[in-house]
Symmetry: D2
Subunit: 390 residues, 4 copies
């Protein structure tokens, strides 16, 4: 476990390395956080829940995200104004916490494991948040150098059939899982089919071209309102003239790659336009349990589906919006104390995403993993996979 | 069917009769509508979907609520500014539409039935909306004269046990149902128990007294934010000193009666504080199918539960917030054309309510009836019933 | 004095007579008030400051506009929700107050006079507010029947010369004036000239046609921001195709008539575009003192200037935005008590208007009269007159 | 002139030196700008208006503040998100621009002088903006080390008498002045008296203690609304327990020093409470012309008035809010082209401040200098001096 811990800590710092101090300090919107805050908050998490001797008593408050039971915290929308402590001091804080944890002979394994997965979640958020920041910069800064060009088209879409019936869903087993992945339980599914790959940029471009953002009939009422209020005319980072802002800067849109940076509203509208629907999270999980957890995790960009048969891109290219609102599994009980706030108190006004993205850390994903964001959120690496009734 | 139609039209007018012309014109918030608008819009519904010859071509636009496929409409938040047409003209419009429908020899039965149930929905909204308006008036106007006093306490809470298993849910049968009540389908339930009556004012008062609105641990994160932003310290119409604003004006709070005018957030927090939870809509329906659709519909106020055994107050005292987000039943398809917008496009950001309230019209409710409102909505006559895992 | 009082009370009621009860109840924006509120508030003013026996104790609070020293009041933006007291009761209140004042053998003359002029101010506001309400109604209701057509063009613009020097400004004399019109004091003016008539619709149409609303160089920075935020493309009530919403409903724009319903920002931008400027209020008053107080008061619409020589339209066609911010005259002291709040506490963030409009009551205007509104306000009957340095 | 230029450039960099890169990147509110932006914008000003060869074509847009005639610019509220160009590159830009100007053999003197004074204005803004940023940081960072303690009380307030009459106001002479300081013109003043020193923290504390922020009678209506909306209970940087946030971090409040960081509303309310009023800008200038331009410029904090006679603290301790709205002097004409936007387009919705503050650069102030801010602005180093009619 200490190995995972040390590796996760180092990986976070590796991800921050390409950035300037100023890049790490800025907060582009209340939903996003500065890199520096991610660096500090993930340290605060171990310091607080492993009850380390405090590095600086002030930090207990400064880097609390939302744990009411731990105490007060600065307002979320002001994280970009915390220019002190400076980056150097935050890095010292990180080093101090890392060392203190490694010095523990027998840390509580459950908390240590949770802290590692928590850190991995923030690794992905660091990338989503920095892209959002850079996307607002007229200079179109690149987080990473240009990638090798990809070739070829996406394979034609095919369907994976599922007979439905009584299916067991949710985490159950020896490995780590977040509390919201359990308890394991039975659900009754109707027969359905699931697309064998993600929806591509090229497919989504057809939706845009045929008035997808101009005609209300495909949209939820709230989604139509959001689209008009936000002047949505294409996925978040699409630019005019077939360009797209990415972690590699502004590049040509790759028609074969999965579409990302959709809100749930856009994913849902596309599916309806395509004569299909989003899968429920139970349907998705029923299929995902049958395939290995493999994919382009850490690739920094979504890649086209490989040719082949059966479900592909289930993990690691784009988070997949599902038809399911985020609510507790039957029998769910959050833990006692502050850690019970980790997931449980967000189970309303959000939609579930499954799978994982090119920015998800290796080793972090599972078939039972439940990610969740509000339906208007667009800055995550989220796309969709179609489903149908049989 | 024409009988139901004529009765529904007359009932709407009976409900408006106690109001002054000015009362009928005001809109107290964007979510509520003026009585005059309800009178007109329910007429517009028949005129439009039964394709009557238009009374006044301008009205086609004026009284469209949200049907994008029908065309434009005035902004919702400005309904209170439509002082023209005046009430007299709207009443003429009503009479004209009523007569035109009655003159049809063979109107499409499905549309006629939908129009009648639509009108009944607006009957309840007229009451929720007028109470909201009056609640903001320093004079505390009463819609109806004071009711006879009630006596006695609520019976002690008992539980109804359910074994779980595979259960059929959703409307199926000859009678009317909205499209969102089907298709009928199987769900797998774990064993649970349901409270045999609603939570009372007295019980909710204990939650308030013990800091229910002051401590975040019982609340969803969004709920806690909403409560602080809105300065919530008790249910919407509770006043200091044990008073409550009602359709009868300001009266003493009746501890034995069901608590109403809760948001979902408050209902959910109360249930958690009480060591229980909200039922899912499937759990609720599984029990509700076993009891007749009887209750205090049209009573203008919620009444204490009768002594007895088994589930009581399942219909007609207070809408019951459930644990379920409002999403389509498996296999749901909205109808083609504008009427497909009736329910389908609202299936996100809302929570399901079941049962019905003292303001629901007689004959309008069913075990499969799915009502829905955003979790922060407080002006509906909504309370809760507790549930537990077995 | 009692004669003026009785006439003013009757005139208010005459102005309300063409309206339906619903028209009188609605509030189209926080800056405007319902007719019913004007009817009641002007009565409250006499009741409160003449210390009449209260008609209904609740009204003391209900109809207070902004007098902090008198006590609390309902929030301004909710005046349209006060459906009770109903119109009938407000009319009874008016009658009761009128009678009580007339029954006073020797009411304090200064307060009575102030109350009469206060009532006259609200007479104009009733018309500005009802036009704003009707302008938002898709039916374009008319407050008054169509007027006789006007003929001919506006006379060519000529200039009135003034030599500048030391000039006495401000009210001084036996007649009534508001406290903000004094004290009389000397100001030193540079030589200037003033246009002999108001800017016309035709002239303003040229400004619009030549990109007046599309190019920032004519605008104050705040004005340009307001114009873009509000999508301003022409004066408030101009409609496409040369139509204009007026108290007579939607009519053809009369190019010869003065332009009205401008914000200060638009008036200021027009003047700069025209190579001129707005006059200061001191310049305006220096000229206005030389002409009789005559004009089209009560005409319900602005009329073209008559041919002739010398300053015309100084009173009674359109309020004239001046170059002056509203600040106290040197030596100004508001009165003691609540009536000191009448004008003094509004002397910031507003620009001065002079003259009077077609909606100003006969007998209400003076050369020293200082009207004032925020620079973004557009719903008053305000236009402009050009000035230049000599 | 080149000497002044080089000194001003160096001084700007000296002021930035104590800050970390992150401090220089953050924007604490839309009205404030990041230090890095100030460093770049002052360079852009010379580059643009002296028509230098561009350092980087993208910068022409990036660092335009508000000159519409120059072209587009990033939205003001997003200046803190411009993490690229990084600080290093902005410093290179500065050096490049400085060198290019020094290399010009005969730059246009008027533009060069304007650029130097423009740079000095931003030197003060860098300090006001960084203090605002640091004031929101729970760590209370200090821009500068603790100052030596001051001793003693403020001298008792005395009055400077002025007989009034015809007075010449406005800049006229060989030295530099902004366009808004002229033309020189005559004004007629009534006799008045001016306090011989600024209002102190101790005096303002009495206003707070006696309910100054709790009772509306001293306040303009807009000010009272602003105070309630913003929860104002003391000057901006006062903390509980007699502490105050300053450029030296949080320190004890010095009762003898001038009060600063007031809005105009607070200054105006204090003056009324004290039985006096604010001076007009003409009154202030009439007195200021009689004293040398001396004071504590660059002191980083306001110092108590020295004992003595006659007007003191007229320059260099705290900007003094005046009774005057910011409008053009008679005969004012802004220059042609983009530089005409420097002052002229802001002449509405602002109040004039006179004098200068402890953060004003040496050599920057004049008796005719007209500073201006909206009446709700609190983050400038602004206090007040009392005046009275004689």
């Amino acid at each position: 476990m200490h190995l995972d811990f040390a590796a996760a800590r180092a990986e976070t710092e590796r991800l921050a390395a390409p950035l300037a101090a100023e890049d790490m300090g800025a907060q582009s919107m209340p939903d996003a956080s500065p890199t520096k805050w991610h660096l500090a908050h993930t340290s605060w998490f171990f310091e607080t829940f492993l009850r380390l001797a405090p590095f600086d008593p002030a930090f207990a408050t400064l880097f609390n995200s939302y744990y009411e039971a731990v105490g007060p915290r600065p307002p979320r929308h002001r994280r970009g104004l915390m220019t002190r402590p400076t980056l150097d001091r935050v890095l010292s804080y990180r080093a101090w916490v890392t060392e203190a944890v490694l010095a523990q002979s027998d840390p509580p394994a459950a908390i240590l494991a949770l802290g590692v997965e928590h850190e991995r979640q923030h690794q992905e958020l660091m990338l989503t948040d920095i892209l959002h920041l850079f996307s607002l910069n007229p200079l179109n800064p690149a987080y990473a150098p240009p990638p090798p060009a990809t070739h070829g088209d996406a394979p034609p879409l095919d369907w994976v059939e599922h007979p439905g019936g009584l299916v067991e869903i949710g985490h159950d087993g020896p490995g780590f899982a977040f509390d919201n992945e359990g308890p394991r339980h039975a659900v009754w599914l109707r027969p359905f089919r699931l697309a064998d790959r993600l929806v591509t940029n090229g497919e989504f471009r057809a939706f845009v071209a045929r008035g997808g953002y101009l005609r209300p009939e495909w949209w939820m009422s709230d989604g139509w309102d959001a689209a008009r209020a936000g002047d949505w005319a294409a996925p978040l980072y699409w630019r005019p003239d077939g360009r797209q802002m990415t972690l590699h800067g502004e590049v040509d849109l790759d028609d074969a790659a999965p579409v990302v940076n959709l809100s749930w509203y856009e994913a849902d509208a596309y599916a309806r336009w395509a004569g299909a629907r989003l899968p429920t999270e139970e349907e998705w999980e029923a299929v995902a349990r049958t395939v290995p957890v493999e994919g382009n995790m850490g690739a920094l960009r979504p890649l086209p589906a490989r040719p082949g048969q059966g479900p592909r891109q289930m993990f690691g290219d784009a988070w997949e919006w599902t038809a399911s609102a985020y609510r507790p599994w039957p029998g769910f009980r959050p833990g006692a104390g502050a850690l019970g706030e980790y997931n449980g108190k967000f189970m309303v006004n959000q939609m579930v995403l499954r799978g994982g993205s090119f920015a998800s850390p290796v080793g972090h994903l599972r078939a039972s993993y439940r990610n969740f964001f509000p339906p208007a959120a667009r800055w995550q690496f989220a796309g969709l996979r179609l489903a149908e009734d049989r």
